[in-house]
Symmetry: C2
């Protein structure tokens, strides 16, 4: 057993992640049906093969007219036009609108030949087979013009775009039924610890049920990663080496990350690839580590569940979100509230303090050991105390990240 | 054709939704494997059947000792103890630690009989078969006590809880492998419009490809709803009545929501149930409506895609998020930026203005008709102009909701 050679700062670890992400950006592409592509990263530019709309169409329910005939029309001096038919969406109108005529038209219907504007129904009155127009319209009024939304040949969405719900609508409207996106980052979750029983098993003897597997799986899914495998692996060199080398874009190893005699993961990573960082000046999670193997990033997460959560959020989650095309920022809502009590920290390390909100104040959770996972379920969120701070006095405004 | 009898305020429509949500809260429950329950709403309290930890365990890598023997130990006056073995996680230690003895112990390992504290490895030196303790520890130091995380009989999580990743960890650690949650709200998406071709089809003639179906599906999924069915339905009374009455917790009808002659949805809803609201003082989306049928909420969304998106986000999405146990707040990140140009609105209605961010300024999108879906893909977000405002001058700080 030995201590950590050197603990790096949180900033240093994050800078390392950001610097290696570029080369991992080149995940392969995959083609998906449009309806499954929300939130995914577009791999290629999409160019519109057509104009949207492809024909002039009405933007209102009303009457298609020849605009020059409406000049001077008011409610005191209405213009009477003969209604010669109805334009419905999807159907062309068979004849031309001539002088003295109007066509009843629905929103979205193609503008009939001869007409160049639409009078909204609210500016009309019916009178037998005639419509009385109560106001002027100028040419093109309430008409959607060809290509007004999208022009044929225009780049509609650029590669790298994280697809929004409305993007799917736009792609659908130009006839795109399948899109090529970057594959989701595939994550292998490796839970080590010979004392662990499968998640959700009733623990017996001196064994405990794994808490980190289900937690990490849902964190990875939340951040846009795809959990390939999530398994408890025996804490021996052969098993952990196999897990490190099995297919994945990212490997998360929980436990086996400290410097105890049974902690193989860091040594094996250093032997097979690069152990870039081992030990971070933070609490909890100081045994966290990270490195890489050909084609993959590896994160060493402490086995203590609070440390595991914290190291995931600071480091592994950042990489997964970035590779999935999401913001690297935390997916936690942030609010500013005053502290209910003093929050103490040690200069030289970042602290991750769980807090409860009570009457608009942030109350630090008293029991906050790295093994006390319930501190993160009793808490409403957490406060980050920077390395250069000794903490904050009661009443000080702090940023709370809400779970 | 007639105009809207009366447009209600956005606040009125939201208040109506909130008032009827209570009775729709009683969605049935469903039992899920723990790993699939993240983000779901717990249906029952979960009480711990056991203490966590169930045995005193070490919180550090180090040596288990009898604390009273360490009093007075310093690096100048180290205490030598004979190492009688090693405690590993998951395994009981076979003998008792007697005076003058220590046991090498790993984080998480059960504390051996006789020992009552752990000296961290950093405060020790090895010397042959002995360990030299370089500092005092008090009783219980670095030991996780029985029930310190959770007590047997304690309510671990209360019904109504939206399950976080760490909650799954806690449930796993007490042996809970399956949980009972509220069923996700089931949403039927009904796209009307005889001019519509299936989403992603290349449009021909005067027909257009449906944009709203894929958009609404991904919005519903984003907000925690389950899309049961999403179909284009002919715009006739019989088809729309059938869709309204088919199984669902919520029905979203796109199109057929205005007051044109082919707009059946509102009339049919009024005939079969309650058309609570039809017409809202907002732009776009003024033809939006809502009401209910036995056991379900119905939202009438305008067919124009921007109006559809806007009405979904203001009304339908709120209901889905609430029923799914999520915050009713928009899932958009909010930032404050100055306006690049004047943003004009009309007093008496809420405006939903798409804006682009450029050099830290919010630039209103020029082409902003309700049919121009690309205005929402070109935009970075939107600004809401309240009903009592005429807009804002250049430089005014506005809240931008980021898509």
């Amino acid at each position: 057993m030995r201590g950590f050679a050197q603990r790096v700062t949180v900033e240093h670890a994050i800078a390392w992640i950001d610097s290696v992400l570029a080369e991992f950006r080149s995940l392969p592409t995959v083609e998906l049906p449009l309806r499954e592509a929300a939130g995914r990263v577009l791999a290629d530019d999409v160019v519109s093969p057509l104009n949207v709309p492809r024909f002039a169409r009405s933007m209102m329910d009303g009457f298609a007219v020849r605009s020059e005939e409406t000049y001077g029309a008011t409610s005191y001096n209405p213009l009477a036009l003969r209604i010669i038919g109805t334009c419905l969406p999807g159907t062309p109108f068979p004849t031309t609108v001539n002088s003295g005529e109007a066509v009843r038209i629905m929103t979205g219907a193609p503008l009939p030949q001869g007409a160049d504007a639409v009078v909204p129904v609210e500016q009309t009155e019916l009178s037998g087979d005639d419509v009385r127009v109560l106001g002027e319209v100028s040419a093109g009024k309430h008409v959607g013009q060809v290509g007004e939304d999208l022009r044929s040949g225009e780049t509609v969405l650029a590669s790298g775009r994280v697809l929004r719900p409305q993007d799917l609508g736009v792609l659908s409207s130009i006839g795109v039924g399948r899109v090529t996106v970057i594959r989701s980052p595939r994550v292998r979750i490796v839970i080590t610890g010979n004392e662990l029983l499968a998640a959700g098993t009733v623990p017996t003897g001196f064994q405990i049920a794994d808490a980190n597997g289900p937690m990490l799986e849902s964190l990875v899914s939340r951040d846009g990663g795809e959990v390939m495998v999530s398994d408890i692996v025996p804490d021996d060199s052969e098993s952990i080496r196999s897990a490190l080398l099995a297919p994945a874009d990212l490997v998360l190893i929980s436990g086996s990350s400290s410097v105890g005699q049974e902690d193989h993961a860091a040594r094996l990573l250093a032997e097979s690839g690069e152990l870039a960082i081992h030990g971070v000046a933070m609490r909890p999670s100081s045994p966290a580590g990270m490195g890489r193997l050909p084609g993959r990033l590896v994160f060493l997460l402490p086995g203590n569940p609070v440390s595991c959560l914290c190291a995931y959020d600071f480091f592994a989650g950042r990489a997964i979100r970035a590779l999935a095309g999401r913001s690297t920022e935390w997916p936690y809502r942030q609010i500013q509230v005053p502290l209910a009590r003093k929050l103490v920290s040690t200069v030289g390390r970042v602290d991750y303090a769980r807090v409860k909100l009570d009457a608009g104040l942030a109350e630090p959770i008293a029991i906050s050991g790295a093994s006390i996972l319930s501190s993160t379920t009793r808490a409403d969120g957490f406060v980050i105390i920077p390395a250069d701070s000794e903490g904050s006095p009661p009443g000080a405004l702090v940023d709370v990240f809400l779970y």
